[in-house]
């Protein structure tokens, strides 16, 4: 699913050259639930941006779903983000003036899906995350946990190949956070591939695989006990 070979990412901000990633080799298979961990400044976010095709590596090869990403145009990258990747952010990043329904609908708009089909998918997903009765609410009228559910529904709406979650429970109280993690586990069990950035060891316990980053490189990576085929069976 994800294949990275010797990925580097350097930022050139005038005088200072920042080497955010210094040679990442990483393979994530279909159906995995991986946590990327590490202290701040370790390159987690940069790695996630590259996995999510928001950013392109300075060097190295990145293959997503058999497609080489390095050489794609801006529009092609936008299509990949739209079709193959579902983003979930720490701060939800919902449009404040749009209803839950419209927020989930947004990626379908960019994909050019017809109204009837949009309605079916959005309704379906909002029901699935337990917000069937909150469709017309604005983000401001929803709790943090509910907002993150809307964001998760939004990330799923184009049936992506992979869900990228950046500290999805970081802004939530522990109860809501646990509920959101349950939701991710459900999604994983239904066959979704999930890559989650976190620095919370409690959260990483839900995951099947843990990848530790340090100073822009992978320090170690291993499969947890969850990895014993919870999914594969």
């Amino acid at each position: 699913m994800i294949q990275m070979e010797n990925i580097t990412r350097h930022y050139d901000t005038g005088k200072i050259k920042v080497k955010a990633l210094r040679g990442i080799d990483l393979t994530i298979n279909e159906g995995e639930f991986a946590a990327i961990m590490g202290p701040s400044g370790s390159g987690k976010s940069t790695l996630m941006h590259i996995i999510g095709c928001l950013d392109t590596p300075t060097s190295g090869n990145y293959t997503l779903d058999t497609k080489k990403v390095n050489s794609l145009s801006d529009n092609q990258l936008a299509d990949i983000r739209n079709q193959k990747i579902g983003f979930v952010f720490q701060s939800f990043n919902l449009l404040p003036y749009a209803s839950a329904y419209e927020n989930v609908e947004l990626p379908l708009i960019f994909a050019g899906i017809r109204t009837a089909e949009r309605k079916k998918r959005v309704t379906n997903l909002l029901e699935r995350v337990g917000l069937a009765d909150r469709m017309d609410h604005r983000p401001g009228e929803l709790s943090g946990g509910q907002q993150q559910r809307v964001a998760i529904a939004r990330s799923l709406v184009n049936n992506p190949r992979i869900i990228l979650a950046d500290e999805p429970t970081g802004n939530l109280d522990s109860k809501s956070g646990a509920e959101i993690m349950e939701l991710f586990i459900d999604l994983w069990k239904q066959g979704n591939t999930i890559v989650m950035i976190t620095h919370d060891p409690n959260v990483s316990e839900y995951c099947q695989r843990i990848i530790n980053l340090k100073d822009g490189a992978i320090e170690n990576g291993f499969y947890t006990k969850n990895g014993n085929g919870v999914h594969g069976e």
């Binding site: 936008a78 739209n82 720490q90 990043n93 419209e102 960019f110 050019g112 184009n158």
Partner: protein, 416 residues
């Protein structure tokens, strides 16, 4: 539909920045108002001046006898050329493009008497076509000089409206009353309708009296008309007719048809052309001022759009992460600017239409307001304003939209 979705979100977002949007919209509305009003005043000026110009006549040319300046067929230069009623008939018969022709005799300082009022006035002797050539239209109940008057040398008189006031006061039934001209009784057959007259000779038509040319001849035995007035069927025929007149009269009076001094020509058609060009120039100028006002308003729109781009950097990043292409982001901002332009334009347009309606209802009297106080709306004005608005909206949206599309999603998502 996709654009419907974007539109819905946009209008919802507008509510969040009501005050700012309202200010921008009113800027555009003000710009639209000024451009439409300026153009409407220009249009009104053009129409009124056109009317005033018609006061002298429509498509008319006047010929005055001159002095030859070229030796011709053994004749010396410096001979005076003078016209008679025969020449009028000759031109009428020979030149088919002439739709009306009349000689005109001038008499100055004639004594007109009605009741106890005696005035010293100008009187001219003309033929019936003068009515439509020189806009001598009678008020209801009266008439102008007709062919029978001319044939029978009737003592009938047609009064300018202002002259009638001075001579007969508010006399409600002037038609049929008898006045005397140098002691000879004349019957009043008509009073001229009030008209605006910009160019004139001898004085305004409203201040003179008109009698049949033949009657005038019989009164003081004149032979030579002071001028010949003729009307051509189409404006572009005027030079041809003029050339023919020179040839016909040149042959008769034996002067060189190319001798421009032999006949003095007052061509009101040429004059009108120059005049009309000038008015178009004035209108362009007014439109330019309006357009500049609108341009200033558009700077306001562009400004607010830039702020909007900055404030929504994060939102742009999120949309990009969800798969929005640069063009989607661009579309959004251009549409917003256009919408502001359209709403502002609609408000400005409506207000200016109402203002024009009100202004048109105010009586203007006969002062300078007569020309300026009649703003007139027209479709060319609407179309050019809409066009300028569209360009302004697009321009105001384009550059901010370009910046929005350049927002780096990674950068914009980094700041929590």
């Amino acid at each position: 539909m996709k654009s419907w979705y974007l539109f819905r979100l946009f209008t919802r977002e507008l509510r969040n920045q009501r005050k700012r949007i309202a200010l921008t919209v009113s800027g555009i509305a003000w710009g639209t108002l000024s451009i439409i009003l300026l153009l409407a005043f220009g249009e009104g000026l053009k129409l009124q001046l056109g009317k005033a110009d018609h006061g002298l006549g429509v498509n008319i040319v006047m010929l005055y006898g001159g002095q030859t300046s070229k030796v011709y067929q053994g004749l010396p230069r410096g001979r005076n050329i003078r016209f008679t009623e025969e020449d009028v008939q000759l031109l009428k018969d020979k030149i088919p493009q002439i739709t009306g022709i009349s000689g005109e005799y001038d008499m100055y300082g004639e004594t007109l008497t009605y009741g106890n009022t005696t005035l010293t006035e100008r009187v001219t002797g003309v033929l019936p076509p003068f009515e439509y050539m020189r806009s001598h239209y009678p008020q209801a109940g009266g008439r102008f000089i007709n062919p029978i008057d001319v044939d029978q040398r009737r003592r009938v008189i047609f009064l300018g409206n202002s002259l009638k006031q001075r001579l007969m006061g508010d006399e409600p039934k002037p038609i049929g009353k008898t006045i005397t001209l140098n002691g000879i009784p004349f019957t009043v057959i008509g009073i001229m309708q009030e008209k605006m007259q910009m160019s004139m000779y001898g004085g305004p038509d409203a201040d003179k009296a008109t009698i049949p040319a033949t009657t005038l001849e019989s009164l003081d035995g004149r032979r030579y008309v002071n001028r010949i007035v003729y009307q051509v069927n189409r404006t572009e025929m005027a030079p041809v007719v003029e050339q023919q007149a020179f040839e016909i009269l040149g042959k008769k009076y034996r002067f060189d048809p190319s001798d421009k001094k032999a006949i003095f020509v007052w061509n009101t058609i040429e004059q009108r052309q120059v005049f009309s060009n000038m008015l178009t120039g004035i209108q362009l100028f007014l439109g330019l001022i309006g357009a500049l006002t609108l341009l200033i308003a558009s700077v306001g729109v562009a400004n607010i759009m830039y702020v909007s781009v900055k404030e929504r950097t994060r939102e742009i990043g999120v949309k990009r992460a969800l798969g929005a292409k640069r063009k989607h982001i661009k579309q959004q901002f251009i549409m917003e600017a256009l919408l502001i332009a359209v709403v502002g334009g609609a408000i400005g347009g409506t207000v200016s239409l109402v203002l024009i309606k009100i202004l048109q209802g105010i009586p203007v009297g006969s002062g300078p307001l007569q020309l300026l106080g009649k703003p007139t709306f027209s479709w060319p004005i609407a179309i050019s304003t809409a066009l300028i608005l569209g360009i302004v909206g697009l321009a105001a949206g384009y550059f901010p939209a370009k910046r929005a599309a350049k927002v780096d999603p990674v950068e914009s998502l980094r700041y929590e």
